[in-house]
């Protein structure tokens, strides 16, 4: 499957493991439940480890563990559910997470601009057929008034 990462189309090399699936080598992501139950084993995992979060999850409780993850996956159950925009902002601005932050779920072209401004840098589109045309979404606007994950100073400091 192809994904967008840092504004380029690349092949996905991560495996999103179900809670029941046996551990495999390579880059994997796990749910919060699995991480909480098997963190000792998972900490020794060879290969990349990623954590999947939904807007329901207690983000602050994960913070001490962040160094264990080379990717954070934020799940959008519906594109109108905006909680993970705040998660992305907090991960980048407050917790200084520098790894990959990926959007998964109902991820559509028309939300990519705001997602990227919030700090998400990779995207599994709900409909990868349109992946080429989706790339233009990052250029929908050339400026933002606010401080964003990409622009740490508000526009009024640059005017």
């Amino acid at each position: 499957m192809q994904i967008i990462k840092d504004r380029e189309i690349v092949e996905n090399n991560w495996l999103h493991l179900d809670d029941e699936a046996t551990l495999v080598a390579g880059d994997i992501t796990v749910s919060l439940t699995r991480w909480q139950e098997q963190h000792v084993t998972l900490s020794k995992h060879e290969g990349g480890l990623g954590l999947r979060l939904t807007g329901e999850d207690p983000l602050e409780e994960i913070v001490p563990d962040l160094a264990a993850f080379s990717m954070m996956v934020l799940i959008f159950p519906a594109f109108i559910d905006g909680r993970c925009y705040s998660f992305a902002r907090l991960l980048r601005d407050r917790y200084h997470y520098t790894g990959e932050i990926r959007a998964q779920g109902d991820v559509l072209r028309d939300q990519l601009f705001y997602m990227s401004q919030s700090g998400i840098n990779s995207f599994e589109l709900a409909n990868p057929d349109n992946i080429e045309s989706a790339l233009s979404a990052f250029n929908d606007f050339s400026e933002s008034y606010q401080t964003t994950a990409l622009k740490p100073q508000p526009l009024y400091r640059r005017r």
């Binding site: 807007g55 594109f79 109108i80 559910d81 905006g82 909680r83 925009y85 705040s86 902002r89 601005d93 407050r94 559509l108 028309d110 939300q111 601009f113 705001y114 997602m115 401004q117 919030s118 349109n130 929908d140 606007f141 050339s142 400026e143 933002s144 008034y145 606010q146 401080t147 964003t148 740490p152 508000p154 526009l155 009024y156 400091r157 005017r159």
Partner: protein, 550 residues
């Protein structure tokens, strides 16, 4: 007024291009109705019973004559040559074609107007006092703060998919003409003990199904911290607000369910982290304020004697002055309201031809600016008193001099079942019927200030729960019935109206209003106002008579 620089203009132009492409993809079948819906809503486009309805932002109610002419122009070319002003000082077009909206938007962008976030679950147009900058006793002009909030909230990437819509209002006086206690956030410019000006911050007010008055979450906020504090409130709401039930998704429900003190703790804890990052610097405050400096008022304007003289000579003019003209902070200047409440015209409607005349009058008499008010009227804020008679004659010729400000005829009314997909009942025809029955202006003047607000459904777009008389349309087995409330107010003494009793069938609504006014006339002391009488005697005397008659 604020003027776009290249950054502001680029942002609005790029929005047009983005929405044009979204509309194209929707029409080409590349976006489903479900995917397109939130996108068109955050651009102000609803799909209603008869046609789409397109809502355009009028930031804090302020427009130039050039903008008014453009509104007239697009409403002629793309609609039925009229527009409707709303209680949140936006305007709506009731008959545009979905495929024309990007073109309308592009036209509006040429005069620095937009429809960004006029609907949808995002931060809406920030509203304020219609008399901002021209009324006496103002602590500070709230409009620069509205513009600062407009820029911060426009395309805020984190808050575009909130649990529900989010409305902010700012005022700079003790009187509240912007219904701030009924907003998700209400901001009051206040002075603290040290004499510094900052904000009192209210949170969790709102109308709709569950009307609640806002509560003070912070009694004093320094100006430089405004945006960080707003961001803290919004972040807490975005994470904690309910998303399982859209009727429980507003911040007012979150505050009620978790309690104000808990929400305050969460907001303050969040704020500690971001306070230093998002400081509003003096340079930016000064940059925005320079667009709202006082115009060059003429000191000689106060020397005019014709104004007093014409009121003696022309009783009709005098009546209009008494009803529709307000004092200005500068001696010799007045504020003239153009009520959009002519009998038999839907409240808030104005034709394209009238708009062109209003634009000319603004250029001639009021420094080229026009304002929209919470009461769905327009006003010219800087008229020399010596010009008022000439202005009034011109307004009269256009049917724009209806002298009924704050009378019962100055009703607030939602579009209702005729135009709105959500409504259970009609509202505009009821307003018409009430106006037909009470067509004697002297009788209306005698009754004094009475605010009737009519909403066609529980969503309460006409704010019926804060009407002195509130009328709410409900559906009973396919028939239109109306629930009355009495004693509501949206001003500084805000209160929610009390239910009169069981709903009343449509054909008895006007008679019920007649009965309520009869009881009022019997019980009022001298010139006591309706709201004061209701507060003094309670609703029982009204209730007894209305239901006895039935």
């Amino acid at each position: 007024m604020y003027q776009y620089d290249n950054y502001d203009q680029a942002m609005v132009d790029q929005r047009v291009a983005q929405y044009r492409d979204q509309t194209r993809r929707f029409l080409a079948g590349e976006l489903t109705e479900e995917q397109f819906r939130p996108l068109r809503l955050m651009n102000g486009l609803y799909v209603q019973i008869h046609a789409p309805m397109y809502r355009v932002a009028v930031p804090y109610g302020l427009m130039s004559s050039k903008q008014i002419r453009k509104i007239a122009d697009v409403s002629r070319r793309y609609d039925k040559a009229y527009v409707h002003f709303t209680t949140r000082t936006n305007f709506q077009m009731n008959w545009p074609k979905l495929e024309d909206v990007p073109d309308i938007m592009a036209e509006l962008a040429t005069v620095q107007m937009h429809s960004i976030q006029t609907s949808g679950n995002d931060i809406r147009n920030t509203t304020t006092d219609e008399l901002a900058g021209v009324c006496a006793n103002e602590i500070e002009d709230p409009r620069p703060w509205c513009e600062i909030i407009r820029q911060w909230s426009t395309f805020h990437p984190e808050f575009a998919y909130l649990p529900r819509k989010f409305k902010i209002a700012v005022i700079g006086t003790e009187e509240d003409r912007a219904a701030t206690q009924l907003h998700d956030i209400g901001l009051h410019l206040v002075k603290n003990h040290e004499g510094e000006i900052g904000f009192e911050v209210l949170v969790g007010g709102g109308l709709g199904r569950t009307p609640i008055l806002g509560q003070v979450i912070r009694s004093f906020l320094e100006k430089k911290d405004l945006l960080s504090y707003l961001e803290a409130i919004l972040r807490v709401y975005n994470r904690l607000g309910r998303r399982d039930n859209k009727y429980k998704a507003r911040i007012k429900i979150m505050v009620r369910e978790h309690g104000l003190s808990h929400i305050r703790e969460l907001v303050e804890a969040e704020w500690v982290h971001i306070r230093k990052q998002l400081v509003l610097d003096d340079k930016e405050i000064a940059r925005v304020k320079q667009y709202f400096t006082e115009p060059a008022y003429e000191a000689t304007a106060a020397n005019d004697v014709s104004f007093a003289q014409m009121q003696v000579e022309d009783a009709t003019f005098a009546r209009w002055v008494k009803q529709n003209v307000r004092d200005h902070k500068k001696l010799g200047y007045k504020i003239a309201f153009i009520t959009l409440k002519a009998p038999l015209v839907p409240p808030g409607d104005v034709t394209s031809d009238q708009l062109d005349v209003i634009a000319d009058l603004a250029d001639e008499f009021s420094m080229g600016e026009i304002r929209a008010s919470h009461s769905q009227n327009l006003l010219l804020s800087d008229v020399k008193q010596g010009d008022l008679y000439a202005l009034w004659l011109r307004l009269q010729a256009e049917g724009l001099a209806t002298a009924n400000m704050n009378t019962m005829a100055d009703m607030i009314c939602c579009p209702g079942l005729d135009f709105c997909g959500l409504a259970n009942a009609t509202s505009i025809p009821l307003a018409k019927k009430i106006n037909e029955r009470f067509d004697d202006l002297d009788y209306l003047y005698d009754l004094g200030d009475i605010k009737i607000k009519i909403s066609g459904c529980m969503n309460g777009c006409a704010h019926q729960s804060v009407g002195h008389i509130g009328i709410l349309g409900v559906d009973k087995k396919g028939e239109e019935w109306y629930q009355f409330t009495l004693g509501g107010s949206s001003e500084a003494d805000a209160s929610l109206g009390e239910r009169l009793g069981r709903a009343i069938p449509k054909d008895e609504v006007v008679d019920t209003v007649v009965t309520l006014l009869e009881v009022f006339k019997e019980l009022r002391y001298e010139d006591e106002l309706f709201l004061a009488t209701v507060r003094r005697v309670g609703i029982d005397p009204f209730k007894e008579r209305v239901y006895a008659d039935n």
